[in-house]
Symmetry: C2
Subunit: 158 residues, 2 copies
Amino acid sequence: MDEMDWALLRELQADARLSYSELSRRVHLSPPAVAERVRRLEETGVITGYHAHVDPARAGRTVIALIRMSCYGARCILNSPETTAWPEIMQIHRITGDACSMLTVTAGSIEEFEAVIDRLAPYGQPSSTMVLSTPLGWRPIPPPGSGNSEPAPSRRRR
Amino acid sequence: MDEMDWALLRELQADARLSYSELSRRVHLSPPAVAERVRRLEETGVITGYHAHVDPARAGRTVIALIRMSCYGARCILNSPETTAWPEIMQIHRITGDACSMLTVTAGSIEEFEAVIDRLAPYGQPSSTMVLSTPLGWRPIPPPGSGNSEPAPSRRRR
DNA sequence: TGTGAAAGTCCGCAGTA
DNA sequence: TACTGCGGACTTTCACA
């Protein structure tokens, strides 16, 4: 993972459809060299995939919610692989705290959303929060060291 | 948004780097027709972008957290556009409930994460939950009607 | 909206520094 | 690991239905 790899990651995170030739121009490397490096980033699992992002609202998914699941012991949603196939469940995070997981769910209507809740209920207690808007939906991962190293204003603790 | 558009969305969500020729083979349409439809999906905002997905851990972001922000009145993080440029903040959702927003944050270390918390504190009270793992990190949006219409087991309410 | 043909570009595979 | 060169495939544009 040298600087060249990070340059390729930066470009491909911003636009996954860039051709190898265009990439080669942007990072100042020959096309075959670019292709080889990208192939290795894929094989080593740094790049997990290339995805077109779709606006949920324009795709008919107007209802978006975050759901904390407090599961009933072993009957945890994390032990129930079938739930990862439900099309309404967009993300599942296993988390610390009194809940065991946090889901991101989208639905086409409140009725459909209600049905998802009902389908989730056997696994545990779902606690829903509606998403009103998403000011920031996605962000590329920058190379380390480009971190926001400004001094924190005052380190207030409470 | 006919069936053909959904077929293209399905393919491009699964692999954003497919060529127009390959797409044309999969949906049984000529390459120029595919290009034209994809261009319109982009222009109408259905497709918001094409992004390479990067494994945060392999990119040095080993710490992932969800942070609920309870902001101090007008000094809300939602009114502070500068925060959307912080590289550690991956997502910002405005939500219902007693908190005003939910952030997804990644950091390279606990120290860096602590610094993010400190930097967030002036905007409001941050409440952090660590992400232990992400069994489902992303899912394509399928066409409507492909919904999981199995009967909810019992509609249990509580 | 869709197709078909032409020009320019790009990709993948060699061989080599 | 990276560069050059070549054959074949691809993208793009245009005229036209």
